[in-house]
Amino acid sequence: MATLAQPAECVLTLPAAWVDAAKFERALWLCGDALGGPCTGVVVQVPAGCKPMVEVIVRLLSFCNQACLMTKRVRLQFADDDQAAMGYLDRMGFFDHLSPSVEVSPSRPAVSGARLHRGGNSGLVEIARFSGTEPAEDSLVVRLAETARNSCSGRPDVAALHNAVFTILCELIGNVVEHSGSPLDAFAVLQTYPRGNKVRIAVSDSGFGVLETLRPALRKKGDPMAVLGDVDLLVEMFRKGVSRYDDDNRGTGLMACAAHAIRFKADLDVRLLRGRVLLKPAETEYQPNMAYLQVGLPLMWGTHIAFTLNLA
């Protein structure tokens, strides 16, 4: 009887370019099912010229920490001849939140760049860590929203932008604490581009996954939305609000996020356990016919949501 050799190690090679969520997923797909498969180790290669976007950085962080929790050996390899990527990640506090079990080469920064420079760059916010099960501190969302306000202070719609960032972060962080059920920390990050036209907000957790907690509860209470596909159910969550509880006050969070996001024509990127949905804004709401779905992706625990607000 023939047997197939199982790879002992999966290799995730990030592109030597700007890496958005789509490129990250492509790299993860080429890597194989590192978390869901039998491999015992994961190597993450960050080549020279690699510039991961903030939503990718927090996903990578969650991915590495999840692999460690699953007792896999994780090695993060940076190019010897280009320290830019490592410096950027260090500045954001990536290594402060990375599991100590992850081996980093050439080596981890001796002193955290985020701690050294905290608050020094109005356009960049360090990664904020919060418990997957304990309420987050008020200062976390206030600080992130203040950064958005300060870096966009000259804009006429700065009040709306500040409120959008505040509300989206509050609602997403609140959802993680209430629903993720994960012992691992979750992460929030925001990046503004003072001379650009975008604000990116991302929240990443390592929990059960938004649809995995919602759909069985809907089925149990006989809600017709239980039979919807992933895209349709997600769109309904953003459009009308859907909750696993009978209390109809619940389910407001994602709907409120969408109400703010649509004012800035934001793209919504949602990474599920084995799929990804990208929602593009229609005129006044998000609709299923403007959604792009990827299925059959490698396993990543949790829910990873990113908003890209477009500033006029």
């Binding site: 008020d138 969302v141 009040a159 409120n163 509300t167 609140g174 209430e178 006050n249 709907m255 409120a256």
Partner: protein
Amino acid sequence: MDGKIGWGRPNGRATLEKLVSFIEGHPAQPVFRISMEGVEQIDASFASEAIVELIRRYRGQKGICLVDLLDLEVQFNISVAAARVDVPIAVWRDGVVEIIGGQPSQGNREALEYALTRSQARAAELAETKDYSIANASTKFKQLWEQGFLMRNESAADSGGVEFVYRRIG
């Protein structure tokens, strides 16, 4: 809610308990005006638990409205939370009332606008002004009261018997 910022369901519920406790402590008072002065930021979940749920809970029994709500972004979040569950909220500014959140049906919109521009209104007056039948005007006001847009009291009718007087909330 402590301070100027409120967010999250647990904080919203804690604030709701305080507001309910205050209202229950004043059983004879029919109207409560909640001042939003000093509130800089609340998210929709907080608004849903603390404000929308409070108004919904006392719908038809107590009139609860918001005053000193000058920040339109704070109002946006309250409105989003209230609209989701069709709860109308009366907001007073400079002597003028605006309804945010739940909105009346197309058929009742005119009747509501009529009632909001005067201190009190009767179905007979609405019927005469808008050329409705008395029964139709009465039904519209009754629906607006049931849905939480208006308050009402019983009053002696000119023709004898009892009629309802409808009032703005606040």
